[in-house]
Amino acid sequence: MRGSMTSEDDRQLVRRIQAGDRAAFEALLDRYEARVYRLALRFTDSVSDAEDVTQEIFLGIYKGLANFRGNAAPGTWIYRVAMNHCLEFRRKRKLDSVPYEEELMIPSRDWREDPEESASKGELADRIEAALQCLSPQHRDVIILHELQGLTYQEVAAALNVPVGTVKSRLSNAFRRLRDLLGGYVTEGTNPI
């Protein structure tokens, strides 16, 4: 997914939309609907809320295109709009008040002690999802945008309106935190370089 955002195609779509071409907006919707929906689902943890937020995001994009001057790539701008809606939703839900430092249901023992119990891939995915919920909002946001949405560091920085160095440090710290939370799930041997 990374690097799939073709800015030039997006710019052409934007120009067509601004010219009144409704089909161009449908093409833009097809290109970004799934990504925006998954982003919204990460912030809402509810399908219905994610759909509402996704609808609001695309309505905002459609209206905001009137003021879009093309200084940034359309994909980056779309993610910026989407992040603003998602953060607004989080603020309203006051999800930030949840003590994310608490260990929810992360097992502390090494999975290699009982490989049969952890044979299922779904179990590891569930544990990673649970660990993601334990991260701070800032760390979780960069992991969602970079690891799950496939944005580059530059695009994440633009979407969050922070420097690229901040994205890099937050991502590194978030991964270390995840590694500590997951314990032995990610310490299975080392591979030579």
């Binding site: 998954r38 879009f68 995915a125």
Partner: protein, 394 residues
């Protein structure tokens, strides 16, 4: 002993900033040089390799997370709720001026408006009308008729073309405003202003003449005071008189330049004895009949020596040619003290520059003259002749 190349870094010595780069190294977000460095450190350190593998595996597992897809109804729902109007871009926004720019523009506009109003009030754009006072007076008053209307007596004449004035003394009047708009009133005001200007000019000329006269008098008086004095005294005791004059000269901050004595048989003009030691009294030869002593005193103290000479019974004879200050100074001995020249006991009197008339002179010229008067030296040449005794020898 050669060091191994490449050098082996100490284990675990990767700084925290470099450890943070492991994730960026995995994501390919480092610069080429930084990527080489971090990769080399990872290859040299097993702990870093283990951390790299953990992060890489964690990232791989996250890629495998479930990626839900939206329901098809969402797309239709979004499209159905779109506003009918297309998002047409707004025309380019007008440039918003900074408050300081707005203030500056407003000030300039106000200034221009005021200038236009004042110009309209004074009629500056109109051709100046001719003076109703036919003659030469209006040549000295530019702009005097600037406010008069074009229906004056001689609208074809151009006052500016004939204008000539003394730029050093002329004070132009501001164009007046014609309150009535009639030609008679304008002429009356013009004549009044012309009279005022002529009076002012006459006063200025009189002041200049007075200043020139005072300057000439001051120069003359100064030259008079600087003229060398030559006197002849017939005294009974030449030596005592010489000592008395020498003492007075020293007290007046002056100096004895030379003293000569002439024997009776020696023709005049060939001095036989000369002494330049001004501190020691002159030893007169027994056979001397006339002694000539030269003094120099500051011009501010010269009158005292003149009075003394008159008191001794001789009328000083002023030399015809004045001696310039530089010539007098060059006649002084090399060890002549400058302290004697700094006397500022300026005397006042007729022909002197005083506080009262100093205001009519140029300050720089005044300062030069007073400085010269204070530091100049006056030369006195005194011929001392013994009294001739007509008593018969016993």
């Amino acid at each position: 002993m050669s060091k191994p190349y490449p050098p082996t870094p100490p284990p675990g010595a990767l700084p925290e900033s470099a450890r943070a780069d492991i994730k960026a190294w995995l994501d390919g977000e480092l610069s080429p040089l930084r990527r080489l460095y971090v990769g080399w450190r990872i290859s040299q350190d097993p702990a870093l390799r283990a951390e790299r593998d953990e992060l890489a595996r964690l990232g791989g597992e996250m890629k495998k997370l479930n990626h839900p897809t939206p329901r098809p109804e969402l797309r239709a729902r979004i499209l159905a709720n779109l506003p009918p109007a297309p998002p047409t871009p707004l025309p380019p926004a007008r440039r918003v001026l900074h408050p300081s720019q707005l203030a500056l523009s407003g000030s300039l506009a106000c200034a221009l408006l005021v200038a236009l109003l004042l110009g309209a009030q004074s009629g500056w754009w109109q051709t100046p009308a001719a003076s109703p006072l036919q003659g030469h007076e209006h040549r000295f008053a530019p702009g005097l008729y600037a406010g008069t209307r074009s229906h004056s007596t001689n609208p074809s004449s151009d006052t500016n073309s004939t204008f000539s004035h003394d730029s050093t003394s002329f004070t132009p009047h501001a164009p007046f405003h014609d309150p009535t708009g009639t030609s008679e009133e304008a002429d009356r005001i013009a004549a009044q202003r012309l009279n005022e200007w002529q009076t002012q000019r006459q006063q200025e000329l009189a002041r200049q003449k007075k200043a020139q006269r005072l300057l000439a008098e001051a120069k003359k008086a100064q030259a008079e005071r600087l003229r060398p004095v030559e006197a002849t005294l017939t005294v009974a005791d030449v030596a005592a008189t010489q000592v008395e004059l020498t003492t007075l000269t020293t007290r007046l901050s002056g100096r004895v330049l030379a003293a000569t004595s002439q024997p009776p048989d020696v023709p005049e003009g060939s001095a036989s004895v000369a002494s330049t030691d001004v501190s020691a009294p002159v030893i007169m030869p027994a056979a001397a009949t006339e002694t000539t002593v030269a003094f120099e005193v500051p011009v501010t103290q010269a009158d005292a020596l003149r009075h003394k000479l008159r008191a001794l019974g001789a009328l000083p004879v002023v030399a015809k040619a004045p001696v310039r200050q530089s010539a007098v100074a060059s006649a002084l001995p090399a060890d002549s003290g400058d302290a004697n020249r700094t006397e500022t006991n300026q005397r006042t009197g007729a022909g002197h520059i005083t506080r009262e008339n100093a205001g009519d002179l140029h300050p720089a010229r005044m300062r030069t003259m007073t400085d010269t008067a204070d530091t100049a030296l006056v030369r006195f040449t005194v011929h001392l002749r013994p009294t001739v005794s007509h008593t018969s020898s016993k």
